[in-house]
Point group: C2
Chain length 355, copies 2
């Protein structure tokens, strides 16, 4: 178990070591550690070595000049200048919030960025301002559209964060696939098969081979197969891709560049600039008096929490499970697997930082 502060300080120093300004290093570390605290281990410090590889490959600008390249009162495109998505996305969300303060809502499509961590982190800036927040990003192709043998979409997550009154915000934050790739990696490490409906093989047949995605297969969209609505998951992933990539002038579809993890290299052709994101903020009182809205959100949360559940289970409010894990990990520390500790130690040796 690693105390949150210990992981955070280390992460911050690594970002400083590759040339990030102090403020950016702090923010980027906060995004990664927040993922670990929420139990989204695949998007936490496990990725730190990957961000450094992006830097080593010249794909990451540690000190970017992030700027608005086009705007209206409620919309903008932002150029991330090859910066860390971990920094570009909060910058962009901040612009969305400023626009929402002025005209009710703000919508930002981002080009020329990199992997932005967990979508929910960015969406959650909005509820602090009595707004509803949206965050999406496209990602390198791992997912097969319905009936496709080819991987053309990323796991393309969507997060929506909605403020309540006496309760914590509602946060839906999910990949538009049946399952996150991180869960397959865990099965791969353990040599276990995948549940039916997560992946298909190179031939387009659903398989329980947890290594299928590496061998010509692909992740299935949310829904699994056509009979269970995979065309809906495909449609949703496509919307995220178009809002993030096509609307901003970033890469889209199969051209989204891979995150610098081993095993997913090889794309060279570009149709736009870097990875794309989409962020939005809507002011609650652009619609209703915010106290009325918050009272009704509390009623919504209470009714769903009180639902009769199947034996031994409960009905969760989106965002609630992650908050429970956070409380536990703040107290007991973050569990890091051997492989991640090794990766961090390699970084530590290189940059003379002690974990």
């Amino acid at each position: 178990m690693f105390k949150e502060q210990r992981v955070r300080k280390f992460t911050e120093k690594v970002f400083l070591a590759i040339g990030c300004p102090k403020k950016d290093a702090k923010l980027a570390a906060d995004v990664l550690v927040s993922a670990d605290l929420r139990g989204v281990d695949s998007h936490g410090v496990a990725r730190l070595a990957g961000y450094v590889r992006l830097f080593d490959h010249g794909r990451l600008n540690p000190n970017p000049q992030i700027r608005i390249i086009h705007e209206t009162p409620s919309t903008a495109v932002i150029d991330g200048d090859k910066g860390l998505g971990l920094v570009v996305a909060p910058f962009s969300m901040n612009i969305a919030i400023k626009k929402a303060k002025k005209v009710g809502s703000g919508w930002i499509s981002v080009q020329n960025s990199n992997h932005f961590g967990i979508a929910g982190y960015h969406a959650l800036f909005a509820p602090k301002n009595d707004m509803i927040g949206w965050a999406m990003t496209n990602a390198a192709p791992l997912v097969v559209p319905t009936f496709s043998k080819e991987k053309l979409l990323g796991t393309n997550p969507i997060a929506v964060a909605i403020p309540a009154g006496k309760y914590e915000p509602f946060v839906a934050d999910f990949a538009t696939t049946a399952v996150a790739y991180g869960k397959l990696e865990i099965l791969q490490r353990k040599g276990l098969p995948a549940p039916h409906g997560w992946v298909q093989d190179a031939n387009g047949d659903i398989t329980d081979d947890s290594n299928a995605v590496k061998n010509g297969g692909g992740l299935l969209p949310l829904g699994g197969d056509r009979e269970h609505g995979s065309h809906k998951g495909y449609g949703l992933g496509a919307v995220v891709d178009i809002f993030s990539g096509v609307l901003s002038g970033a890469n889209f579809g199969p051209w989204v560049p891979p995150f610098a993890t081993a095993g997913f290299h090889g794309v060279v052709e570009e149709v736009g600039k870097g990875t794309g994101h989409f962020l939005g903020a809507m002011r609650i009182d652009g619609f209703r008096p915010k106290e009325d809205f918050k009272n009704d959100m509390d009623k919504w949360i209470e009714r769903f929490s009180a639902a009769k559940a199947v034996d031994g289970q409960k009905v969760w409010i989106p965002g609630e499970p992650e908050r429970e894990i956070t409380a536990e990990r703040l107290k007991n520390g973050i569990p890091l697997i051997e492989k991640v500790i090794e990766d961090l130690n390699v970084l530590g040796e290189r940059f003379k930082i002690k974990l």
Copy 2:
């Protein structure tokens, strides 16, 4: 087979007969017939008798004074005055488009409305104006959140329509469930079981009983069960409910009033006004020059259409299958089942209109 014009004229006359103004009757008929033309038979003239029942029960105002009750430059809440959702939603979309013309985007939450037909119809006003369109609505509870025995959400559809250059718009339009309720009704009529992963029984177990929803069970969210991402479908349906109901001051969750079809009555408590919708429009050139965007959308469509498909299948662009059915039905007519023809004939006798 019924020629589209024949069904359209009849539908228009029925709406006129219950007191809708000429323009509204024409529009409402167009929404319903568009559903039939697209092959969404459950949302077409099969519902006409239901709208008349809403009128008979005093829940539908055929001549509503639809009005904006609160607004900012990019947001508004609209009161549908108990009008047909078929008319209230296009009115609201029109306001969204006007706002987008002025400030880049427009977002409308609607209270005090009724069932609005197919979401895609309303979203598609946007691409005609070089905008991206959104349409969502909440609906009476048929769907169980993950681990719930109680039905707390409607099928809560989402539509997103995106213009392209030389191709027709991309239209994702889907219920946030594994399957639309209409597909279960078809199985019920034929006495056939449901595929595993569509519904659960009163005990919360997944079942192949296509009548389960009527007997204390519920439709499963997109994803099916927790292992296959049902919490994502639940989160998505919840977002639609909150945007449509809580943000507007309409009913939400289990309190959304039933559409007047047999078998789903009984909800009396109200926490807001009528059914809620959410509509949005974003101007393409609020982000990028529209020719650049359209060229990239064409490239997106061409790449996905050209994807290597599993044997005997092809990769569809969202919206494409519905357009193929439309072409076929415009030529050969709309197939109506016996039960629907009977319902229409009853309406015909009552209002002295010949089908």
